[in-house]
Assembly symmetry: C2
Homo-oligomer: 378 residues x 2
């Protein structure tokens, strides 16, 4: 096996793939990165028990020659050594050769590295990357769906299904839902074209976070394919495979109140800053609870206290206020998580009483809905 | 007690003083920040068992009014709450008032914070900030002396005196020395004016690191005063007091070889990059040792190996090479620490054999000398 490659291309693809590789895996061979040279591509693969990432580096991009002197072969190289070495190489070109004893030689400028590789034969076989159950979505839209929901997954393993995001496709509407049973985040959009009629799966939250991290911001499309127990996200040169969570995701629609007794319209940034200040004196041992009281003349008061330290109150002008007076307490962390994912100048908050879940949304927009359960403090 | 102050001035000074405050102190009152309003200044004080930092904020800077509505008083406010609150305030001005029950009210815009303070009576008394044993040095020069030596102090408490930097003043030459007994760093400069004849003290390395952190890069002067068991660094508005280490600092001059058997002149950046690459495969369990071999024609070879993983060799052209052939092994970490503090394009390395300490210096410059003990590997 041999190839000469432009360092920056190799490095960028290594950095995508290395995210799947963990030193704490139970399968020793998975601590390494797989390199294949075949079909005019250098193919990098990283994998753990949850996700597999594969990058295909083509020999040419347009007229630019990326790889030369290719001869086919396959090897596993140690991580983090292999990525660290490529990062620190002195020149723009790197030559990698592998001999019959699985010894890889990496040359760039005057630097010569020799790495002990492992045979690819022991590397787990991947399923064929193909499926008929597929749809397309723009990468930016996918990243928005992930961002607006994944923060609300449960981090507790007591109900494993809640550590995932419920992804549903029905009548070309794609809907992501996450809940840790104290809050719920829901985001949806219309898919233009789909070869799959309906879908109802649960993807581990961590997988979606990793996927979001390695995808650049772009309106280009990504292909989503449902496979047996797995889901594949693929662009021309990048393949991201995640296992699915088994089990039934709870029916969440009945948690969502269908009417509102108190409705606020408020500037999102001002509310973020006011709650951040109140959170400074919120009791850290009690979920950083802050309190919201409605006042007259479109004013709300946000307050909190920490028994030993002190208290804070701040009045905030809201854009409009309708309905019953209200005193309600909630986790400042949950509220800030939510407000930071909604990219709109104004948010609408619908309350149905001090002890009922309340909803945060964008006015006149049904595509995003965030729900938070209040906290009983009196 | 009361004052109204421009937020940014208060915040900048809080950030200097807060570095001295630790939540792990054995004296509970020291977990807070002391605020005094007196003599047309707001004075902030933070302290732990090693250092005390005090910032004096004047009522006016030039024509700019920084503080208004002052009435005298003193209080201790809780950390991190007080700094965090000031950082997040909504407006440019902040009003702080303290009532007779030590309750501090902090107002800015619509935000009102109430913090429970503590009485300053329990706060340790500071010594008067005055001494006749004093000299001046530019802040940039002081920071350079610290940077070129403090990294070499010992982190082990087995010989506490070595956790400090030996600071000597003799015939207007100021010399900083640090050693952890595996390496030694020495840096010196001429002082223009001094009211003190000679001095030989040991300042804790951590104190000097903190001092360096809060001093901005400037050629302005700082005053250094030797007090009983303590040293005071002071500018017009900032006072930094550190305890000294008790005990005799070892005599280090006889460790320094007085001749050279092999002398290299080499580009500092190229040597850094070559050693960084060699360090990637250096054995982490054995002090990251790399090996240097002299070759013919002004070439050196830097290499290392990690039994399971592989090995690396790299040839480097040096600017000149004189004397005996040499094979020597040393800690790549120590070498990189040293090379990164020497700000010169070229460095000179003097060896006196594979098992003797070697010296790294700037050619034709006696103000800085770094010494490293080699490692026996064969």
């Amino acid at each position: 096996m041999k190839f000469v490659i432009k360092k920056q291309h190799l490095l960028n693809n290594i950095q995508s793939v290395v995210n799947a590789i963990s030193s704490r895996t139970v399968i020793p061979i998975l601590t390494g990165m797989k390199i294949d040279v075949r079909n005019n591509h250098v193919i990098l693969t990283g994998s753990n028990s949850d996700i597999t990432i594969q990058a295909h580096i083509p020999q040419k991009i347009g007229d630019e020659e990326i790889i030369t002197n290719m001869s086919e072969g396959t090897i596993i190289l140690p991580v983090p050594h292999f990525p660290e070495i490529i990062k620190k190489l002195p020149e723009e070109l790197v030559e990698i050769t592998v001999d019959d004893e699985l010894k890889a030689t990496i040359r760039s400028g005057h630097a010569v590295f020799s790495l002990n590789g492992q045979s690819s034969e022991e590397y787990p076989q991947l399923p064929p990357f193909q499926s008929d159950d597929t749809f397309e979505i723009s990468i930016n839209n996918l990243k928005t769906l992930i961002k607006q929901t994944v923060f609300a997954v449960s981090t507790m393993e007591t109900r494993p299904i809640l550590t995932g995001v419920n992804v549903k496709l029905e009548n070309k509407e794609l809907e992501f839902t996450a809940t840790d049973s104290h809050r719920l985040a829901l985001s949806s959009l219309e898919i233009e074209e789909a070869e799959i009629d309906d879908m109802n799966i649960v993807i581990p939250g961590k997988s979606l976070q990793e996927l979001s991290k390695i995808l650049e911001d772009t309106d280009e499309k990504i292909n989503v394919s449902l496979m047996k127990n797995q889901i594949l996200f693929s662009t021309e040169n990048l393949f991201f495979l995640s296992r699915l969570l088994n089990g039934n995701y709870p029916e969440t629609s009945r948690l969502i109140p269908d009417h509102s007794e108190t409705t606020l319209f408020v500037d999102r940034r001002e509310l973020i800053h006011t709650i951040e200040r109140a959170a400074l004196l919120a009791n850290r041992e009690q979920n950083n609870v802050v309190r919201l009281d409605t006042k007259e003349d479109n004013i709300i008061e946000v307050s909190s206290q920490s028994p030993e330290v002190g208290y804070v109150t701040e009045e905030l002008n809201v854009n409009s206020f309708d309905g019953d007076e209200l005193k309600i307490s909630f986790s400042s962390k949950y509220m800030l998580d939510t407000l930071k994912t909604i990219e709109n100048e104004e948010v609408q908050i619908n309350f149905t009483g001090a002890m009922r879940p309340f909803i945060i949304k964008i006015p006149n927009n049904e595509s995003i809905l965030q729900l938070i359960l209040p906290v009983r403090t009196f």
